[in-house]
Structures are given as structure tokens and as C-alpha cells.
């Protein structure tokens, strides 16, 4: 998903680093803050422009200048802490790496408590580092479920489609469902796992780590992956998962579900606008299958932070408070289909109320497992909040890809887990 933009990002980073330094100066009592936002979907870009314009209007003593960065991950990785902007958007899964690198400011006491406490529990967990401090806030969270095509499911004779977390199909039931669907679709495929997102390139870290959790394990338990990621129950779950490949549409054109070639899609919230516009009332959310420890799902999306070396942290905090107001959250989530990240915005949105089209997203996120080991009753699990996450992500994803390609699940997972434990050891267990 993020391929190909690296070189541009590197070049842009150098230019931005200079810009970040020079722009960060006061003129005539007016504070200037620099804001970096991701060059994401059109809706998100528009929303960011509107937010900054409104913020400048509402705060005559502060001038926020906005820059869009095409590959934020690389930009933040390669920019030194003192060259970072005052406020910036980033991929929430990289929080721990950024804190470990000394690039994020603690938000406790800087951003109003009322703002932080109004964020969903899942977001608060995601923004909290192992030192107990909060380092980020968000405008929206993610939702990961199955989308189902009601009429295709009915045609296949699949009844009792679960729409709440407690009724999720078991993995075995799911196998039966897939074979029923494949019998009635023209290409004999039942589901898209969004293979076009590149399983081994990191898609598995978000989309398929719930399989590990649903088999009863976290990816990493107390800094050790051996014994959790490669537990026998997890290997068994992935054996089942790999058996579903025969029903999977490779989805090279990114529209298997929208064009009704398959009846199910294992996908995130960002597809909501495209799916509802092509399927209308035929689309419904279904929880991911249960591998024994209850259905599990992912959480976390883009987050906002303040640069650790920013000279205008108070002004930057004001900006973060401003954009996490419900009105601005609604403005961006209406455009990108993501789940509003505050309790009040979520409660006020009919789509997420019981019976609403997207109610399952809210129900899942309200049962966040936080950073604790997943239990049977919680649902969404944040990606491991550790500076090791980027390595865990690529290593685990590569293992899932190889299992998908036919490797022995137990051997592939043990190999990945061993490499992850070695990474922890190499880095002094990531203790400061």
C-alpha cells in the first residue's frame, strides 16, 4: 500500500526538514506552528485543509501552516527530532518506535484531559506507551470485519448470518459457509481476503493478527514471541486459514466484492463508501470468524502527536484539541468512512447505534482488549505497542504469506517468533 513513494519521500524529507526549522519562528507576537499531515485520500486532504483554515480563524494569535507529506512513515523515520514539525499526523502503529526515538512529546498536562478522556478506550490504549504516558490523540479509529452480500449469501443458502460479536461463526462453520458460496458464484470463489493489499507486505499484521488473538494468544507475550505467536492453537488456526485459499478471489482489480464476484470481504472500514455505493442495502457487517477464544479484530488508525523538541507545544496542543472536537471529527469521518474516535461523536452517530449499518464497528471497539493479553470477552486488539512493532509486523506478515503459499504453519510461525525474540535481545529488550 505504501510502495513506490519512498524515494520521493526521502527527497521531500530533506526539503521539509529545512522548512520545519525555518517556519517555526514567531513574528510580531503571533506564533507560527508547522503541521504535517499525510497526503492520504482526497477526503482526508480536504478535511485537513479545512481544519487548519478554521483553526487559524479561531486562533488569531497562532498561525498554523500545513504541509502534506506523501510517505509520512519514512519522513518521520528519517527526520531528526529537532527538525520535526510542531504537530503531525502519523500511522498509530508506529507510536512506540517514535517514542523510543525520543520524537514525541508527552500529552498529559499539555492537551486538555477532557479531550484525551473523551477518546475511545481503544484510542487511549493505542496512544499510551509502556511508561504509562499518553503520546497521541486521534480523530478516527479503524474497523475490521467481514462485509457480506445479503442476496448472494441467501442465494448460497447461508442462513443465520451473524451480525454481532457474540454470534460469530466458528472457523469450521466458516469453512462450510465458504464452500456453499463458492458453489453458486460464477468464478467459484467465495471471499476476498484483499490479497491485492499484499499479505506479506504488512497487510497480515493488521488483518490476520486477529487470527492469533482469536486462537487465544497475543503476538508477543512479555517480550517473547516464541510460545505465543507460534503456540499450537495458533498454528492450527492458520492451517484452517490456509485451507480457505481455494475460495479466495485474488482481487487484482480491487473490486471482487463490489462487483459481486464474491459474497464476503475481509476488509477494513475504508472500503465502506465504495461498498455501500455499489451494494446499497445488500451490504452488512459480519464479525470475523472465531478460532476458539471469541471473535477478535484490529484497531488503530492515523494519530496526531506533538514534536518532542517543538518550541510551541502549547499552541500545538491547542491544535490537537481543536481537531479532536466532534464537529471536525465528523467532518473527516464523513469523507473517509472511518470510525469517529470520541465517545460523544460515536454516540451521536446513528450509523453506529444498535441496528445501524456500522454498529458492529462500534460494538467491537467498545470492547477493546487494550494492551493486555486478549481475553475471550474483549474484541479489538491494538498492534503490539513496542518499538519492535515494525519488525514484528514484517516478520509475522512474511510468515502468514508463506503459510498462504503452502508452508507448514508451525514451522513458519516458530521461525518468525524466533527472529522476533532475537530482535528484542539485539536491542536490549528495547529498554531505555
Amino acid at each position: 500500500m505504501k510502495n513506490g513513494k519512498r524515494i520521493i519521500a526521502l527527497a521531500a524529507t530533506a526539503a521539509l526538514a529545512v522548512a520545519g526549522l525555518t517556519a517555526c519562528s514567531s513574528n510580531g507576537g503571533k506564533q507560527t506552528i508547522t503541521v504535517w499531515a499525510m497526503q492520504g485520500q482526497t477526503g482526508e486532504v480536504n478535511a485537513a485543509k479545512q481544519e487548519v483554515a478554521a483553526f487559524n480563524k479561531a486562533n488569531p494569535d497562532i498561525k498554523a501552516t500545513l504541509k502534506f507529506v506523501p510517505d509520512m512513515g519514512t519522513a518521520l523515520k528519517t527526520t531528526k527530532a529537532d527538525a520535526l514539525p510542531d504537530a503531525f499526523e502519523f500511522d498509530g502503529e508506529t507510536l512506540a518506535s517514535l517514542v523510543y526515538a525520543g520524537k514525541l512529546a508527552k500529552l498529559n498536562g499539555l492537551v486538555a484531559d477532557s479531550s484525551i478522556k473523551n477518546e475511545l478506550a481503544s484510542i487511549q490504549a493505542e496512544g499510551t506507551y509502556s511508561d504509562g504516558n499518553t503520546y497521541s490523540v486521534s480523530q478516527y479509529d479503524s474497523g475490521l470485519t467481514l462485509w457480506g452480500n445479503k442476496s448472494l449469501l441467501a442465494k448460497a443458502g447461508v442462513s443465520d448470518v451473524p451480525t454481532t460479536v457474540d454470534k460469530a461463526w466458528t472457523a469450521d462453520q466458516f469453512t462450510g459457509v465458504l464452500s456453499k458460496i463458492a458453489a453458486v458464484t460464477p468464478g467459484h470463489k467465495a471471499i476476498t481476503f484483499k490479497e491485492n493489499y499484499n499479505i506479506g507486505g504488512g497487510w497480515a499484521g493488521y488483518a490476520f493478527s486477529p487470527i492469533v488473538n482469536s486462537a487465544g494468544e497475543p503476538l508477543v507475550k512479555d517480550g517473547k514471541a516464541v510460545g505465543s505467536m507460534d503456540a499450537p492453537a495458533v498454528a492450527a488456526a492458520f492451517k484452517t486459514f490456509a485451507s480457505w485459499k481455494q475460495y479466495s478471489d485474488p482481487d487484482a482489480d480491487d473490486s471482487a466484492f463490489q462487483t459481486k464476484r464474491v459474497a464476503l470481504a475481509w476488509i477494513g472500514h475504508w472500503a465502506t463508501p465504495a461498498i455501500t455505493s455499489s451494494l446499497g442495502a445488500d451490504a452488512e457487517l459480519i464479525p470475523l470468524p472465531n478460532f476458539g477464544n471469541g471473535t477478535k479484530s484490529g484497531q488503530g488508525s492515523h494519530s496526531w502527536a506533538i514534536g518532542a523538541k517543538s518550541a510551541h507545544q502549547q499552541a500545538a496542543a491547542k491544535f490537537l484539541e481543536f481537531i479532536t472536537q466532534d464537529s471536525w471529527i465528523n467532518n473527516v469521518t464523513n469523507q473517509n468512512g472511518a470510525v469517529p474516535a470520541t465517545n460523544t461523536a460515536l454516540a451521536a452517530n446513528a450509523n453506529y447505534a444498535p441496528g445501524g449499518l456500522l454498529a458492529l464497528y462500534a460494538a467491537q471497539l467498545n470492547k477493546s482488549c487494550g494492551s493486555a493479553n486478549p481475553t475471550a470477552s474483549c474484541v479489538t486488539v491494538p498492534r503490539t505497542i513496542s518499538p519492535a512493532w515494525p519488525f514484528i509486523n514484517t516478520t509475522f506478515s512474511a510468515a502468514v504469506q508463506s503459510i498462504w503459499d503452502g508452508a507448514d504453519p508451525q514451522a513458519a510461525l516458530t521461525k518468525a517468533a524466533t527472529a522476533i525474540d532475537q530482535d528484542y535481545a539485539d536491542n536490549g529488550e528495547y529498554k531505555k
Binding site: 525520543g102 482489480d253 519488525f391 508463506s402
Partner: protein, 312 residues
């Protein structure tokens, strides 16, 4: 006076030689570039390879030769490096002969004096102009493993449904071949242009003389064209080998090194170690090993395929 001037000049000439001075001056820009872009990065990589170093967080730990041990000998982490190195060679073995042969064939076809030949030359050269990333994205649609993939649907159509959908990029034995086919298609135009230039350097008189001697077209090709192309072909083979050893873009986009490591290459391992896994030390160590291997290979290749430089 005149004598004195002559003698100092003579002394200088004796020590350095006029040619050598001019030569050194002229090679300076090139040498500078080499130092800047090859020598310095190589030694930087050498130093970095002794550390566990992260771009993202600035922490680093000294590891000595541990990275090398893991790449070359560790039972958990070394197999993928050896597999990748093997893939590099298999890929080169497939691509170098095919691409060179095809380049000669195309060049011979396009070396005719006909109307509109410039159009065809441009046409065959075009894939070289497209960035490899773009070509790979388009070919990923051709290679899709279902019947919607263009190649599968074509084969299925002409075989009346007897050739079922083939998973071109998802079958371990086939994925590297698929990538090789695409790479040859995308790259052959470059070698073709070089061979074409080589062909046009061969004096027409040689062909005339050969035809007076009643040499057939094939004999002319064997005894005039090929010897005339010798230096060109040596260059083409070397450059194609280099291209295939640094195989990366296609793999990164089409297969991420899979399935089961069957398309992984040393460059792919090195880049993803440094950037995706944020392990610059490991990536550096791999490039150091790889550079050493390439130096040895180049020396062997130079010995076997010596260009004829002297004008006889």
C-alpha cells in the same frame, strides 16, 4: 634558452608523460564519481555492518561479526540469504542467454533499410523507457492467478478451456520464470539498441566479399556478423549479468520475494532488511558480502570474455 626549456619539458615528460597527465585529468571526474558513489558507500556499509543500527530511533548496538554469522551460517536466518543468492544466479542463467539472443535477433530484424523502420525501432525500444515499477504493476494484472488474468484467459481461450488457470506468481517453481519473462520483455530493447549500433559498425565490404565467395546468409552471420559483434556482445553480456544480479523492482512489486522465498534476491533481502525491518546493519552486511561476490564474478568474467582492444 631553447635548450633549457626543452630539457625541463623533457624531464616532466620523462617522469609522467604528456599522455598520462592528460589521461589523469580526464579520468578525474569519473574517478571522483566512483569514489563518491561506490568507494565511500562501500566503506560506510562495511562500518555499519558491525552494528545493530536503526534509522527510525537512533539507537545502535555494536555486534562485531554477528550480522555476518547470521547471514551466512545461522540455521534460522541464513537459508534465505543462500536461497536468494541462488535465485540471483538462476535468474541470470535464464535471462542473460535469452535476452542477448533475442536482442541479436531483433537487431538483425531492425537493421534493414526499409520504409518506417524507425517506427519499429522506437516500438521495440519503448518498454525500456517505461519505469520498471509501472511495467510490473501492469504485468501483475496479466499474471493474476484466476481466469481474469490476461495470460490465463488467453491460454484458456486458445486451448478451449483445457489449460486451467495457472498461478504464475504463486507457484514456487514458476514465479521466477514469470518474472524472468517479464524482465526480458521490459529490458531487451536496451540490448537491442546496443547490438544495432554494433551491427552498423561492421563494414559492408566484408559482406560484399563474403557474398563474392558464395557464402550463405548463415555463413555470413557466423563468420562476419558474430565476430564483428564480439566486443559489443561482451559488453551486452556483462551489462545484462549486472542487471540480473541487482534484480529488485519486479520482485518487490510482484511477489515480495515469495512464494516461499522462490523469487527473493540478495538486493531484495538487503533493501527490505534496511528499510522494512529497519535493520541497517544487516542490510549493509549483505551488500558487503554481495559486492565481494560480484567482484570475484567480474574478475572471472573479464578473464573469460576479454574484449579485443587492440587494433590489428
Amino acid at each position: 634558452m631553447a635548450n633549457a626549456r626543452l630539457s625541463t619539458k623533457g624531464l616532466f615528460k620523462k617522469r609522467f608523460g604528456n599522455d598520462q597527465l592528460a589521461g589523469m585529468l580526464m579520468s578525474l571526474p569519473g574517478a571522483l564519481m566512483l569514489v563518491l558513489f561506490v568507494v565511500i558507500p562501500f566503506f560506510t556499509a562495511f562500518v555499519l555492518s558491525f552494528y545493530n543500527i536503526h534509522l527510525s530511533n537512533g539507537h545502535s548496538f555494536f555486534m562485531g561479526f554477528e550480522q555476518y554469522r547470521r547471514i551466512l551460517f545461522d540455521p534460522n536466518t541464513s537459508p534465505i540469504f543462500w536461497q536468494s543468492l541462488g535465485n540471483n544466479f538462476v535468474f541470470a542463467l535464464m535471462v542473460v542467454p535469452v535476452q542477448t539472443g533475442l536482442a541479436i535477433a531483433l537487431a538483425l530484424l531492425l537493421n534493414q533499410k526499409r520504409k518506417g523502420i524507425a517506427f519499429f525501432r522506437t516500438f521495440f525500444f519503448m518498454p525500456v523507457v517505461f519505469p520498471m515499477s509501472l511495467v510490473a504493476v501492469i504485468w501483475s494484472l496479466f499474471y493474476s492467478r484466476d481466469l481474469r488474468g490476461m495470460i490465463n484467459s488467453l491460454l484458456n481461450g486458445i486451448s478451449a478451456g483445457n489449460i486451467g488457470p495457472i498461478d504464475w506468481l504463486g507457484t514456487p517453481g514458476l514465479a521466477l520464470v514469470s518474472i524472468a519473462i517479464m524482465s526480458v520483455w521490459a529490458g531487451v530493447g536496451f540490448q537491442m539498441v546496443i547490438v544495432l549500433a554494433g551491427l552498423q559498425e561492421i563494414p559492408l565490404e566484408l559482406y560484399e566479399a563474403a557474398s563474392i565467395d558464395k557464402a550463405s546468409k548463415w555463413q555470413q552471420f557466423r563468420n562476419v556478423t558474430l565476430p564483428g559483434l564480439r566486443n559489443t556482445l561482451v559488453f551486452v553480456v556483462i551489462i545484462t549479468s549486472i542487471f540480473s544480479l541487482r534484480l529488485f523492482d519486479q520482485v518487490y512489486i510482484l511477489t515480495s520475494g515469495g512464494p516461499l522465498g522462490s523469487t527473493s534476491t540478495v538486493m531484495y533481502q538487503s533493501v527490505t532488511s534496511a528499510w522494512t525491518d529497519d535493520n541497517v546493519g544487516k542490510g549493509s552486511a549483505m551488500t558487503v558480502v554481495f559486492v565481494l561476490i560480484i567482484i570475484v564474478l567480474t574478475l572471472i568474467q573479464r578473464r573469460v570474455l576479454r574484449q579485443e582492444r587492440e587494433i590489428k
